[in-house]
Symmetry: D2
Subunit: 268 residues, 4 copies
């Protein structure tokens, strides 16, 4: 972290920040610029909240130098991550298509769809058993009945099955039936749920929240990774903007000269 | 709902939509405009998804006429809602201040703060026992120990106590200690949690998500109200925008000629 | 336009709106729904501001049925638009690449670049003579000298030349040198400039503003089209969102089942 | 500016950046942290574009330390700025209300309104002579006739008059009639217009663009200030967000512990 003092900060204000930084266990690197003094922290300051320093007298702002995530970073694991779901490998050169209905509505609907998506070339089958619906009056999913139908479809088609998990309480039941867990956009920062799936052995598809930054997405992946589950696949599903012409806006875009962001690499 | 046909939609396309609407249980009101035909649905079409009609051939768009929420609406309950927490009345002419530390860090810290906020005029005490932190490496809260400390502070000061609830599994424990439940911004669309607090008898403070529209906030309130708990207080805590000069941007603003939105009224 | 009355609007309120609509020159189509009365306007109400009706007593909201643009619409001209710049055809099946430096900095720099982009396959040469810079202390461009250099590069390479125009006062000078005019994102709603380029005979590349909706982009195209210039090419250059990982976010995205939007079609 | 090298950047990559920085005329301050090397620039690096360094091999990111604006900064002029328009003082303890119709539509309408707003306590009269309308088919303003009517209203009421200026070509005419110039939100980054009003002697009201950050607003003020006109008043008129319940969202908000931002201070 780098702490930028205000122009004209007094000697005492600077000393006060230095004392505080050292008390927090870091070495200090002082640099007097043309207009401002800059205080650098030496050491792993990831767990620190920069607001702790920004409230001190004479401080203009604090800026993070290190990325807040570790396990989700290319620095921790430089190679591309491969996640394998019953023989289907995600993260390699092949694009994997997971297809199926938004919600499992009936046995007939799901089985028919499963055979159709397999015939069309999809490698995994998805279908909602528990549905996050903005209205309490909308269909909320068939629950365990849907899970049984999904398992039957897997048996008939051989396609591995993925479904959304909405609360840690459902984990034992859901893990009995499916091959991969999905965290929906609305639950991207449901930390108890992230910890819960982090303790399972199933691969996890983590969807980006509508208003989540890439860094927040990676921090949510870090929750799962830190709990022990290293099989995390990130899903960009678009962000919310002022534009309503399309439902969401694709949030991922390379710009000239950019290297591949850590966002879609490493263990995440 | 109003369905707008494309300019030049054929007789068959119009008939097809009419048949579908009638099959869905609604009466049809047809209006041939100068350039487009408009099909109005008569009846309570709130549970309908307008995308069901927008995919039909010849349809340009569907527009909702009714608001999707009911219990959270002024139309259901025109009077201002009063929620009472151990004698403290929220929603009347008095502004209620709830104060306290972000997290309960120790008995000493919380008790000292509790007496200080009471002396300063606050009417309720808040403090986090379970903390939603973007990093898994940050302090996650003291859990039940914090709840005990909060209860002790209430005894000493007489201030009712509010704390954040993060997962339905914690509900029985948390309800034993506190007087009001808080749903944090990141969990505003954690529907299992909303249903869970909706089944309790404690008043609920529902915070607006960073990415949530007013309508979505009211729909989340509707989840709690529909589950039987009519004591919902909405909390505007700012939305996320492109501007990073401030952490959040205040999302609530009256504009000239506007009536008070339903958003902060009725049972919600 | 459709005017939705509040639930419980009185007979007088409804009559008042009807009288107003008829006075504004439109026929009325009345529809009494289960909960609300709806008043439809019959006729071309594009120039009307819906706020005129939304302030009337008993009105809940007004919703536009017609698109506000005409010449920029597929309904006006269903075929794809082709814009030809000195033999280079834009809008057909071939993707046209326009390349060159952000700003013309010197004769040597521009000529070298021009030959390089031609060798790499670009079909047009771009280069800024007048630069919109957020800081008044940054390089503002070489002005007419840059235009002369661009013209020389065209002579040497045969590539048609495009440059940004920032104010109507520069139009006579700039049109003498270049083959296509560019309106930058910051000037997308500089209406005097739009009218100005609309009166020229040069093709125009109109860039989408950072915070402009597709509809606003099309309305800006409509300004140019309505002034008589039908050679408008739209340029999606990304919109501003909360995400700072990338400089802009690509604002255009097809969603399942969507037809091609009017945005990138018709005369615009 | 501070340049953060990637973890594992080579000695050569670091040396290369140092050479480049020194060639650009700055002293270098090197700091080897636990994981990364940081290169600080010493000197006034405001005109530098940080992307120049971010493209160099081994560089992770560059972060600005100095604010990009000078004249608009509290550091340049610590005292609150007072702008006086014909005896009306803006920026002191009194809130100044400027009122009047969106557009001057007729002599009768404007004179009647002028007397009404004076009677209601407003201290300045506003009215549009040239209107920035999103549709080319909407009323575009009465032009010079409106300016004459505004001048007559000033004579009758004694209220100073403000109107919007849309293009530098109109400056000589508009300055003849009014007491203060307004730059509308859509023209906040119309730099030729900013330079134009910067060369006049009239006070300027600069409205924040829908998509503009505070820093960009201040940079636009800097354009006017740098051109010699020090009478700039900033106007927060709301920003565009995903929320459509209100037309705009108020973009200015103090947060706990924040000092007054430079944004509404200094010469701007």
């Amino acid at each position: 972290m780098i702490i930028v003092m205000r122009a004209g900060a007094s000697r005492e204000e600077i000393d006060n920040v230095v004392v505080r930084v050292e008390r927090d266990g870091f070495k200090v690197h002082l640099s007097a610029g043309a207009e401002r003094t800059i205080i650098g922290l030496i050491g792993d300051d990831r767990p620190l909240d920069k607001q702790l320093y920004e409230v001190l007298p004479g401080v203009e702002k604090a800026m993070a130098v290190l990325k807040p995530f570790k396990l989700a970073s290319r620095e921790f694991s430089a190679a591309d991550t491969l996640v394998t779901v019953k023989g289907v490998s995600i993260g390699g050169t092949q694009v994997v298509l997971m297809a199926g209905p938004c919600a499992v509505e009936s046995r007939g609907q799901l089985l028919e769809t499963a055979h159709a998506v397999k015939a069309a070339g999809a490698q995994m089958l998805r279908g909602g058993a528990f549905k996050p619906r903005s209205s309490p009056y909308s269909f909320q999913g068939l629950g365990e009945d849907a899970l049984k139908i999904l398992a039957e479809a897997r048996e008939q088609t051989g396609l591995p099955v993925i479904t959304e998990i909405m609360t840690p309480e459902h984990l034992p039941m859901v893990c009995d039936y499916v091959d991969m867990l999905q965290i929906g956009a609305r639950n991207m920062q449901n930390y108890e749920l992230l910890k819960g799936v982090g303790r399972t052995t199933l691969p996890v598809l983590l969807k980006r929240g509508l208003m989540a930054t890439m860094e927040e997405l990676l921090m949510s992946a870090e929750y799962i990774l830190a709990a022990g589950n290293r099989q995390v696949v990130l899903c960009e599903r678009g962000i919310r903007t002022f534009e309503k012409y399309t439902r969401n806006t694709n949030g991922y875009q390379c710009h000239p000269g950019a290297q591949a962001p850590d966002a879609f690499a490493g263990d995440a």
